[in-house]
């Protein structure tokens, strides 16, 4: 088969076509983002890919947590020590030159690894770590990012996904039912590989792909460039020297479909009739859950313009567009509200995990040494390393070519790294309503609770911050601190009375949460308020505006994912406080007559890492 009738392609055929294109030019297409819940489906797809790649093309697997010099190249420490002269070793990326690199658990890859991969995809070279370790090495490769995450919050980093041409969803059932043979053989791919740089694509077809991307809400121009490349690849697979409509449709289905974020505003005309598509590659189409059954193209592919590059009439352009739209539509889930169908990381998703990462072990207090490889990024403890090597000196033979300069024979077993700990802390931010006379009663309890927490902070390294709001503005009385004396002074000086600028208070709390996160601390925000906001964000009085501002601010605080607790201090539980708690995503505690101990217990229960 050729790429014809792209709208009829099953998921299996699309996956095979993607494998064929990728095997033609791994670096050119960047690679594939493969998502599945079943590993055997991936194995099968990888086997297809392997069958079509040239036999000499390397296929490597990237272990998560690979140190930089294994990835990019660097000093071979063991050989260097044995030979007494620098010996460079090639990194995994350079060893994958011309082939594909498989990245398992791509959704869990660190930001650091992702940025190295995107750099190598952009530059196609690997720059070894260290200065004396040799020249940059060619690393023209494709990355197969395997996304095995089932959790909704785990996504492959968007910066990587954007550079990979194909985003595939492999449905295990579909694959089990598919025939075993490939529809493209390795010989065809090899011919196409040699020819595809010469394949021409007309400006009009480029224009229609650009327009199509816009219609389906694909903003990335990189994606369109990859689609153009895929169209040329399809033509080459079909042994043609210029791109035709079907190639564009197939490319659109492969590259743009999975990136679609919206349906085109003007839908294509409804199909003339709902006839069964004749699809020989799809014997068990009953088991094919994914695309809606696409209509047969109204004009058969024979009507497609000839292969040379004459310009298309308006009618032909329109047909091309419709063909592509159907092809893309066929890849979209039924009844779709497209929201990120092929789920690359969305706002904030990449930052969160690594932002709180404390396990780097490069900062903090030294608590001893451990055996390890300094190339992984640890800090070498030179003295301990030499001490570890010392007892063995007599036993260790002089390395070949030893000129007597090597005094100490150190082997990689001897390396000792500093063990550093950077303790995680919790920051509790109290947001205290100091408005009006009623709240003054509450202030005493709030002060008491903060003091209790401060006492514990000494032993637990918790930080406590204090925001008070009254009058027209909230004020950070105490930025998160462990300094007991300063904290107590701020507490004593806390005044009361005036209006309730709740929105402003929530905004200040949000600032403090953001700051605390940067130091790696977990945060909990405790509101002590009756939630009766009467000062809007801009400081003007007026209850309705003040309340809607407060709710908007609450949602903004919730959006950054803060743990919150709302202690309702009004004489009896109120509706507005509950609504505010809901907007905050906060635990709501009605403590009409609480005392310092009561508040303290509630806060301790909410602390995410209490006692850590």
């Amino acid at each position: 088969m050729t790429a014809s009738a792209a709208s009829e392609m099953t998921g299996v055929i699309r996956a095979q076509l993607a494998a064929a294109l990728l095997s033609m030019d791994p670096a050119g297409f960047g690679g594939a983002l493969v998502r599945t819940s079943r590993y055997d489906a991936v194995e099968r797809w990888l086997a297809d890919l392997r069958a079509m790649l040239p036999p000499e093309a390397p296929i490597t697997r990237l272990p998560l947590g690979i140190p930089d010099d294994r990835l990019l190249g660097g000093l071979d420490l063991a050989m260097t020590l044995a030979q007494g002269r620098p010996v460079a070793e090639r990194g995994l990326l350079a060893r994958t030159d011309g082939g594909v690199l498989i990245l398992p658990c791509a959704e869990r890859a660190s930001g650091a690894l992702i940025s190295r991969l995107t750099e190598v995809l952009d530059t196609r070279i690997a720059v070894p770590r260290g200065h004396a370790v040799g020249a940059p090495q060619p690393a023209r490769l494709g990355v197969i990012a395997l996304d095995e995450g089932d959790g909704e919050d785990e996504h492959v980093a968007a910066s990587l996904g954007d550079r990979l041409a194909f985003h595939l969803l492999l449905e295990p059932g579909e694959f089990a039912a598919a025939p075993n043979e490939l529809f493209v053989d390795a010989a065809t791919v090899a011919r196409a590989r040699a020819a595809y740089a010469q394949v021409e694509i007309s400006d009009q077809r480029v224009t229609s792909l650009v327009a199509l991307a816009a219609a389906f809400g694909v903003p990335s121009l990189r994606a369109v460039a990859l689609a153009v490349r895929a169209a040329r690849g399809c033509a080459a697979l079909d042994d043609r020297r210029s791109v035709n409509d079907d190639d564009c449709a197939a490319a659109a289905a492969l590259v743009l479909g999975p990136r679609a974020t919206q349906r085109p505003l003007a839908p294509p005309p409804p199909p003339p009739e709902d006839e069964e598509p004749a699809a020989p590659e799809e014997p068990n189409e009953g088991e094919e859950p994914d695309p809606p059954d696409p209509p047969e193209p109204p004009s058969p592919p024979d009507d497609a313009p000839p292969d040379d590059n004459e310009s298309l009439s308006e009618e032909q352009m329109r047909e091309l567009e419709e063909l592509m739209i159907r092809a893309v539509q066929a890849t979209l889930p039924v009844g779709l509200t497209i929201d990120a169908p092929m789920r690359t990381a969305r706002a904030g998703a990449t930052g969160g995990r690594s932002g709180n990462d404390r396990s780097g072990g490069l900062r903090g207090r030294q608590v001893g040494t451990r055996r390890g490889d300094p190339r992984a990024g640890g800090r070498l403890d030179l003295l301990e390393t030499l001490r570890a090597a010392a007892p063995w000196q007599k036993l260790r033979p002089a390395p070949a070519g030893d000129t007597g300069r090597v005094r100490v024979r150190v082997r990689s077993d001897d390396f000792r790294l500093r063990r550093l700990v950077e303790p995680a802390g919790t920051t509790a931010i109290f947001v205290v309503d100091a408005s009006g006379s009623a709240a003054i009663n509450r202030m005493a309890e709030a002060k008491g609770a903060v003091e209790l927490l401060l006492a514990e902070a000494y032993s637990r390294r918790d930080e406590v911050g204090l925001v008070a709001f009254r009058g027209t503005q909230a004020e950070v009385l105490l930025p998160p601190t462990r300094a007991i004396a300063a904290a107590k002074r701020a507490l004593v000086a806390l005044p009361g009375g005036g209006g309730t600028p709740l929105a402003s208070a929530i905004d200040r709390a949000r600032d403090l949460v953001t700051q605390a996160r940067r130091t790696g601390n977990d945060t909990v925000v405790v509101f002590l308020t009756d939630a009766r906001a009467n000062i809007a964000r801009d400081g003007t009085p007026g209850r309705p505006q003040a309340e809607s501002d407060a709710l908007a601010s609450a949602q903004a605080l919730r959006a950054i994912g803060a743990t919150t607790l709302l202690i309702d201090t009004s004489p009896r539980p109120t509706e507005i406080a509950k609504r505010l708690a809901a907007a905050l995503g906060a635990r709501y505690v009605a403590l009409p007559r609480t005392d310092a101990q009561g508040i303290h217990r509630a806060v301790s229960a909410a602390m995410p890492t209490a006692g850590a």
Partner: protein
């Protein structure tokens, strides 16, 4: 081996291209912050710089790439060689553009004990890091908003002093590290620390163009480049060379350009009107406006230059209200219209 996409062949994104070229005219402007979505030619523009900018002369054998003409600002090695009566030779080298990847270790950035020499020869030697390699060139941090805090601290420190001081593992080294910091990122994925924001002289917001013709042109050029990188680069070599000449001419001119007092006063008024903190805003306006005037071949720095550079120089310095919809650029434009007339 790596053929970059030619700078001049980048379609649109004029503000970004201009900001980058202005820092080549006057590196003291500070860094460039590029905020925008993916696929907006951010990385492409930065990676094209070594091929575009006029090569610089460096002291042969100096591992920090010292400028042979920089009196008194050379590294200790060069000073020692001069003191020993050596006549330093020099050669031409491309302007360095160094990537600082997320998750880089501190050792890698500031440099560290040269393990290889320590272990094989028992010598205590310093292996320079990325900061040394970026000296007199560009340090590029993609996704700078996700950069780890300890690296941000480092960058802040070095960008203030222009010097990298290393005290670790028994090494005590200091070397010049003056570079233009180019950071890019998608603001939706995280904010930058205000201190770091303030260090950037200019900031630009890039968006994917929605103009169909422009998008088609982008794709056509990309496709032509992918198919024949050498041929495509040759086709744009002329345009790149022109830009490079323009930078060179502007560099000569910028030192002698005087900013009239009236224009300085306008800069101060503008900063006061939009409410920027500190004097970095004024400085960025002044240096940016002067570099722009030099780049345009103007004889004086005028209000028009100020207006043209103001959004880039100020938009990242405004106090932000998280829920305010009015963008910084709009606020600056309003202030400009009020002060200088629409």
């Amino acid at each position: 081996m790596f053929i970059p996409f030619p700078f001049s062949a980048i379609v649109g994104q004029d503000e970004m291209k201009r900001a980058i070229l202005l820092t080549a005219v006057d590196p003291t402007i500070g860094g460039v912050l590029i905020l925008g979505h993916r696929g907006t030619a951010k990385s492409t523009a930065v990676r094209a710089l070594p091929a575009l900018l006029p090569p610089m002369s460096v002291v042969t054998g100096c591992r920090y790439g010292c400028d042979p003409h920089a009196e008194g600002r050379k590294c200790h090695d060069c000073l020692a060689r001069e003191a020993a009566g050596e006549k330093l030779r020099s050669h031409k080298a491309p302007v360095p553009v160094v990537d600082l990847p997320l998750g880089a270790t501190e050792d890698r950035v500031v440099g560290a004990l040269d393990l290889e020499r320590a272990l094989t020869r028992g010598e205590k030697a310093y292996e320079p890091g990325l900061l040394a390699r970026a000296h007199r060139g560009y340090l590029y941090v993609d996704e700078i908003n996700l950069l780890e805090d300890h690296l941000v601290d480092l960058l802040l420190d070095v960008s203030t002093t222009g010097e990298n001081v290393v005290e670790r593992e028994g090494i005590s080294v200091r070397h010049p590290a003056r570079f233009v910091l180019v950071g890019s990122g998608n603001p939706e994925e995280g904010d930058l620390r205000p201190q770091l924001l303030d260090r950037f002289g200019l900031s630009v917001e890039v968006t994917t163009t929605t103009d169909l013709d422009a998008r088609v042109e982008v794709i056509k050029r990309r496709d032509a480049f992918d198919r024949d990188p050498d041929g495509f680069s040759a086709k744009w070599a002329e345009a790149d060379h022109e830009a490079s000449k323009k930078v060179e001419r502007a560099r000569k001119k910028v030192a002698t350009l005087v900013v009239p007092d009236a224009v300085l006063r306008q800069a101060a008024q503008l900063c006061a009107a939009v409410g920027t903190d500190g004097v970095r805003g004024e400085l960025a306006l002044l240096r940016g406006g002067r570099a722009l005037a030099a780049f345009d071949g103007a004889k004086h720095v005028t209000t028009e230059h100020l207006r043209a550079i103001a959004p880039s120089a100020l938009r990242h310095r405004l106090r932000r209200n998280v829920l305010d919809d009015v963008g910084s650029t709009v606020r600056i434009d309003r202030a400009l219209d009020e002060l200088f007339g629409a």
